[in-house]
């Protein structure tokens, strides 16, 4: 079973991991402030189309990523407005945003691209080995012969973890998700923190969407996201709202995903196990993990609860 530790399998794992964890980081930031964003799948979808179109039309992956981040930020701001200012039910609004995202993406794609014979393509990013590190046998080859976006992912995981746990602003953000009244009584502007978290988190969600065409497919299809947003939402619970644990979780999920991908391309396996059962694997795995993890996980105490200074409780 040398296959299980095959270098190309693990390299693929890192690629599959990247969009998952980026989306998950965005959701962690949002949830840490006390807002639950169940529209994540829709926002990531919009991010993916924005990232694709931005790259395709402006010819620059950087601009593509920025477009995606803007799109994610705007949708997330919409959620913030309903959840924070209007104190609407966050789950219902989130579901609305989810469907809105599902609708907007093919619409904008068709609007920009029109009806064409062959779908437009962008170049997926190619690997840029890190000097020295990339030459470390095995570990280096897996981790450091990747493309820029994967490196960016490593950086963002560390940066978000650092932000949340090692900066004053991170401390304040977490306090809003745990006990907004305590935060408020210490002079922290809960509303502003929550809005900020939603917008910044939205940038991440959009970016996660942009990863998909840039890293994996090079094209946009309606089912590009394929539940990854929901998976990221679960990863938040799996990672107990901590970036580093979520990172491990994302690796695990991505490994399962990459594994099914690789296995199904092996001719002898395709005979033994129908590929559909391999495709199911990540989702079944996610459910099993959730059963194990859910009862122990402790969400931010004020998650989904609107804050109103003058109301009791």
């Amino acid at each position: 079973m040398g296959f299980v530790f095959d270098i190309s399998l693990l390299q693929l794992t890192m690629v599959m991991m990247a969009p998952l964890i980026i989306a998950c980081l965005g959701e962690i930031i949002i949830e840490r402030s006390g807002i639950l964003n169940v529209g994540i799948e829709g926002i990531v979808t919009v991010g993916s189309v924005a990232g694709f179109l931005g790259t395709f039309m402006m010819g620059s992956p950087v601009l593509g990523c920025l477009t995606a981040m803007m799109a994610g930020g705007i949708l997330s701001l919409l959620l913030a407005y309903f959840a924070i200012s209007m104190r609407a039910n966050q789950i219902v609004v989130g579901l609305g945003i989810f469907v809105l995202g599902l609708g907007l993406s093919p619409l904008s794609y068709r609007l920009a691209v029109g009806v064409v014979q062959s779908p437009p393509q962008i170049k997926t990013l190619s690997g840029v080995p890190v000097p020295l590190l990339g030459n470390i046998p095995y570990v280096g080859e897996v981790l450091f012969r990747q493309n820029i976006l994967v490196y960016l992912t490593y950086f963002l995981v560390a940066a978000v973890a650092f932000f949340l746990f090692k900066t004053p602003l991170g401390l304040r953000l977490r306090s809003c998700g745990e006990n907004p009244r305590a935060a408020d009584s210490l002079g922290i502007n809960v509303t502003a923190m929550r809005y900020g978290a939603c917008v910044v988190g939205g940038f991440f969600l959009g970016l996660a969407g942009a990863y998909l065409p840039l890293l994996i497919t090079g094209t946009f299809t309606d089912n590009l996201v394929n539940g990854r947003g929901w998976l990221a939402l679960m990863l938040v619970i799996f990672g107990r709202w901590m970036p580093l644990w979520a990172f491990l979780g994302a690796l695990l999920f991505a490994y399962v995903d990459a594994f099914q991908f690789k296995v199904s391309s092996l001719p002898q396996m395709a005979k033994a196990v129908p590929p559909q059962f391999l495709l199911m694997l990540p989702y079944v795995f996610a459910m099993l993990v959730l059963v194990k993890v859910a009862s122990g996980a402790e969400a931010p105490r004020a998650l989904t609860r609107p804050y109103d200074r003058e109301s009791r409780e």
Partner: protein, 354 residues
């Protein structure tokens, strides 16, 4: 008891009508913008939508055929919401129901049953399979406190690939191509209501189900308990209601409703089991639409019937727009979301001002 409307009822109804009028106006405005963006003429486009969906018998039949899964799926969401449960798994449950129907159809093929026996049996198979698919998140919620939102979403994908497997593997019809099974036996096909134009009996069954849910909610003790739990679980518990038991009723019923939709899709519409019956990864995405129709219909069977009818028209109409000006079918999602957000906005405003 019926009595005349009181002043308050009238004011309430007027506010409601105004809310929906505003929401519809915004959605129409968005629609007009899309149509212009896609280079169509607004007047022609709106005429096309109505003509395509209601203007011909064939179109009308198509609209009815779409209405059926939309109504059942939305009922499955609305019913759960009434009890405080979020069922995002309509797609998966539709697939489960479709598998159940197909399994009965293929499994009992040799018995040569007459249709009045065969069709109900098949539909029962679908309903049970859907109920089972709904029971899983119920059990996980009660046993492990796992949110039903996640489990229902994940089960969508599991069911999707299950159908993918069945339609490509054991039940595949090599002549028809990928991801499609051989046709179900003739005697397992749901009779047609509009035989010339291809409208099946499904919508009647769906309406009956809506009536059943309405009756259950308003006239049975369990329905009352479900509404109580959905409104305030703490107070319900103080009133002696066992919330776990309610969960274990709600979720399978949600599944059964969607499962019924899936069974009808196979037995009445496609007459075969195929991928692309519904979402979550492509059109038609009944699951996503059902969520918002349930919200727009205020989680009430009557409201859901109306909203489902409107969106069935829009779905069929937008199909024709897709052909004529290339407007993708997913535009309907955007209209839905706009309506939902507008309604939420108006209601939140009202809440905040009291």
């Amino acid at each position: 008891m019926k009595g005349a409307w009181s002043e308050e009822d009238r004011r309430h109804a007027a506010a409601l009508a105004a809310t929906y009028a505003a929401a519809a106006a915004l959605a129409l405005l968005a629609a007009a913008l899309f149509i212009l963006a896609f280079g169509g003429s607004i007047r022609v486009a709106f005429a096309t939508v109505l003509q395509a969906s209601l203007g011909t018998w064939g179109g009308f039949a198509q609209t009815l055929n779409k209405f059926c899964p939309l109504l059942l799926g939305s009922l499955a969401v609305a019913f759960g919401m009434r009890g405080g449960h979020f069922n995002i798994g309509v797609d998966g449950q539709i697939y489960a129901g479709a598998i159940g129907m197909a399994a009965v159809a293929f499994g009992l093929e040799g018995l040569n049953l007459p249709w009045p026996v065969f069709v109900p049996l098949g539909i029962l198979g679908g309903v049970l399979a859907g109920a089972f698919w709904g029971l899983i998140p119920g059990v996980l919620r009660v046993r492990y406190r796992v949110s039903e939102i996640f489990v229902t979403v994940m089960l969508n994908f599991v069911a999707l690939y299950l159908v993918d497997y069945l339609a490509n593997g054991p039940w595949n019809d090599p002549l028809a191509g990928d991801a499609i099974t051989v046709p179900i036996p003739k005697s397992a096909v749901l009779p047609q209501m509009l035989p010339k134009s291809g409208g099946h009996m499904g919508p009647l069954i769906a309406l009956a189900a809506a009536a059943g849910i309405y009756f259950m909610m308003s006239r049975t003790i369990i329905g009352y308990e479900i509404r109580a739990v959905g409104d305030n679980p703490t107070a319900a518990r103080f009133g002696g209601i066992n919330i776990n038991r309610i969960t274990l009723v709600i979720m399978p019923v949600c599944g059964a409703l969607s499962g019924l939709a899936g069974a009808i899709e196979v037995s009445g519409f496609h007459q075969t089991l195929l991928l692309g019956l519904t979402g979550p990864t492509g059109a038609p995405n009944y699951g996503a639409m059902s969520i918002l129709i349930a919200v727009i219909g205020r989680r009430h069977p009557l409201g859901v019937i109306l909203a489902a009818a409107v969106f069935a028209i829009l779905m069929v109409g937008s199909d024709s727009l897709q052909r004529s000006i290339g407007l993708p079918g997913s535009a309907v999602f955007v209209f839905q979301a706009i309506i939902v957000l507008t309604v939420l906005y108006v209601e939140a405003r009202r809440q905040l001002s009291t």
